[in-house]
Symmetry: C2
Subunit: 440 residues, 2 copies
């Protein structure tokens, strides 16, 4: 989907008009192209804790210069795990103040800390919690496509940060900003071929016929997975096309049917014997104010967006289809976090998805399976293209990137969760919203 305003605002004439009128100035976001290295350019690493050295080594092993005395830098990574009380927060200022203007456009800011719940004292927990306000402010302030994230890395998980650092420093996270990610202890296996991290994996994507689901199928296939593309029979034609394009397979199935979970299990078991990656992307909207909403609108949204995910998860787990190392990734929504007018049904279903991720994570961790959610903000799709002009423009502009995201941005985030290196990531909810200002 195109965004004509962003294209216009990036022409020489457009830039002048935009500046004179005080309109939003979206930069053209760098996005990943196959063949690109994940991390391009120098990354300055600072801070004194348990992560600075492992991070420097990891980046250097990837050919990244971590000690360049001058910018422009592609990224700034600060290890804040050594900060044990609020007076120590001064170290943030000391590191970032001199280099705040040395980031190139679409630069990356990453602060690494210890989650408050893992801290040894209330003072340390207080200081570590303060990092979130800092990072979210940097995301809003630095502009020019800069993203800023906070990674809470559990003590002992120092070796498990590579997939997260790679993603957050790369162009794959172009539309992810202002997020808090928790990396726990778990034996992460590094893929043999970093350009094909999902090689040999079997993935299933629901709602794969178009939009975000189609992009997910493409990205997982690009990363080496065999993708089973699932959608309703009515979408059979575009579904076949996507399955062909990604050299995967198609499965026509109405997830609301009573026998759908069992048929899904039977299909996957028969053809592949197992499922490594399950992506719950299928979802619908049936917007109306609560006073005007029919029973059917309520029930169908809750059933497809939430209950059907539960039924499929239960069937897949009962059949032992997901082996250790398995991944479940589900699509929530900003509306599930912040609520939305006319979407009591949709927001309840998408908030429920967050509950699902958080409540299933502990039991799944015992089986070596992770479960995480992405929560898209304004993503350019047929759905958003059909919105009324003013609502569309507000959603598109009112975020730190001053533009909407693309389906591929959601897909890249899911591929990060799906990768073998992300074993330490579970129970996370990451917004793909350009740090939207409109709620949440």
């Amino acid at each position: 989907m195109s965004d004509r305003y962003t294209s216009f605002a990036n022409t020489p004439a457009g830039k002048a008009v935009v500046k004179r009128l005080g309109l939003p100035e979206p930069v053209r976001l760098r996005r990943y192209r196959p063949g690109d290295p994940d991390i391009e350019g120098n990354v300055l690493v600072g801070g004194a804790g348990r992560l600075a050295e492992p991070v420097r080594k990891l980046l250097q092993a990837n050919g990244v210069n971590t000690d360049a005395a001058e910018g422009p830098y592609a990224g700034l990574v600060f290890d804040a795990t050594g900060i044990t009380d609020s007076t120590g927060l001064r170290a943030l200022y000391d590191f970032f103040h001199p280099v705040a203007r040395s980031l190139r456009p679409c630069g990356r800011v990453i602060v690494l800390g210890t989650a408050p719940e893992d801290c040894a004292s209330p003072r340390e927990a207080t200081a570590q919690r303060a990092l979130e306000g800092f990072v979210r402010s940097v995301g809003k302030e630095f502009g020019r496509g800069t993203t800023a994230q906070l990674g809470y890395v559990a003590p002992g998980a120092e070796d498990g940060v590579e997939s997260t650092l790679r993603f957050l420093l790369s162009a794959k996270s172009a539309y992810v900003s202002g997020q808090v990610v928790r990396v726990g202890r778990a034996p992460a296996s590094q893929p043999k071929d970093a350009t094909l991290p999902l090689e040999g994996k079997v993935a299933l994507v629901t709602g794969a016929a178009r939009g975000i689901g189609e992009a997910i199928a493409h990205v997982l296939a690009r990363d080496g997975a065999h993708v089973i593309c699932l959608d309703v029979p009515a979408a059979g034609e575009p579904l076949s096309k996507v399955a062909n394009d990604v050299h995967g397979s198609a499965l026509q199935l109405d997830l609301t049917a009573a026998d759908a979970p069992q048929r899904l299990v039977d299909h996957v078991k028969e053809r592949h014997g197992r499922l490594d990656i399950l992506v719950h992307n299928a979802g619908i909207t049936r917007d109306k104010t609560l006073a005007r909403m029919s029973e059917d609108r309520w029930n169908s949204v809750l059933d497809i967006n939430l209950s059907s995910q539960e039924r499929v998860n239960d069937a897949v787990l009962a059949a032992d289809l997901l082996p250790a190392g398995g991944r479940i990734v589900t699509v929530s929504s900003m509306a599930g976090i912040a609520g939305n007018r006319g979407q009591t049904n949709y927001a309840a279903s998408k908030a429920g998805v967050i509950g699902l991720v958080q409540s299933y994570a502990p039991a799944l961790a015992d089986k070596g399976i992770t479960i995480n959610a992405v929560a898209p903000g304004f993503i350019e799709t047929r759905m958003t293209a059909a919105m009324p002009l003013m609502i569309r423009e507000a959603g598109r502009r009112m975020n730190s990137m001053s533009q909407g995201g693309l389906p591929v941005d959601v897909a890249e985030t899911i591929a990060w969760f799906a990768s073998p290196g992300s074993a330490g990531l579970t129970g996370n909810v990451v917004r793909v919203c350009g740090q939207s200002l409109l709620g949440a």
Copy 2:
């Protein structure tokens, strides 16, 4: 502080203009006046769980009709604790759909549930988490000054909900919406005189010379407390006036001084022997982008807004000044949740305050002391009156109330946390922001 637009938009001529131009239509919010009952009008109670009956009895004991067959209703309270999986969410629709238009202006919607972490199964936790998306959508959708909240009540805490229900149903919570409040098990003592819940209590309010601090002093005094009003010596004159107005006492103290915590402790101990309520309201802003920020701006904001609170807490606790039943309430900020451009220092300090509340709560609970935070959004003060026009208007209008809040709205929320009936509330962060859309 006046808001001329809201006044204008509520005149007959203004209403017509506002409607024709599609401008925000703020309603004049009902606010509490001494002598008013907390709950005025009929409240419909629905749902089938462990809370519906206790809530009905509690409201009826306060003279409220809970079974009126027709609206207009002052409030709708739904007990969702009986919902144990996502299909049961249908009960929300069944209750709210028929009565969604029967709320009077400035009505109240309250959904009561079980916190996901207290649920017996992942299915139940998922459904209970879904409530949040529903409630936040209702807050954005119902309009006309309606507030909507989610109260997670711990099993066994059914008898401890009165102070929370009273506050959330009353005009005291006029600018609180879209919030999630957790009520835990703790022996709440009901005040002898409901109109003077803080009678006999000693409270200390920092930053009390003006603005929000002045409003806090007034509301705590109205509720019966003796208020020690603290501010810097330079604010001595307005401080004395506030202390006189509330029949309290004044304490001039610079909280950044090394001996300030001890002098505070000595003063309170000598005059009153103990401190029941400690309100950390003192705070400053020193806005600049990080690249332009001086060391002093960073350090002074972190020290006053965060580190000085820690020093005072430690001194007060070490001196055993806060008895069982004690209350600490601190003022965070929406910027501490969502971040803000030009406020890396302020947002870090205010996010730290959230960390402080959450990390100190468990140890304080063992002593019978609660700690909670309020996070104000756009509140009409001298500080916001000085903002540039467009930023001020965006902050003021972009929330579910289409207007800024008043200092008294923050003060009422603090008084709710401070009341003897709120023993089950600890570790909460409640935004007083009219459900602001601008982040968080």
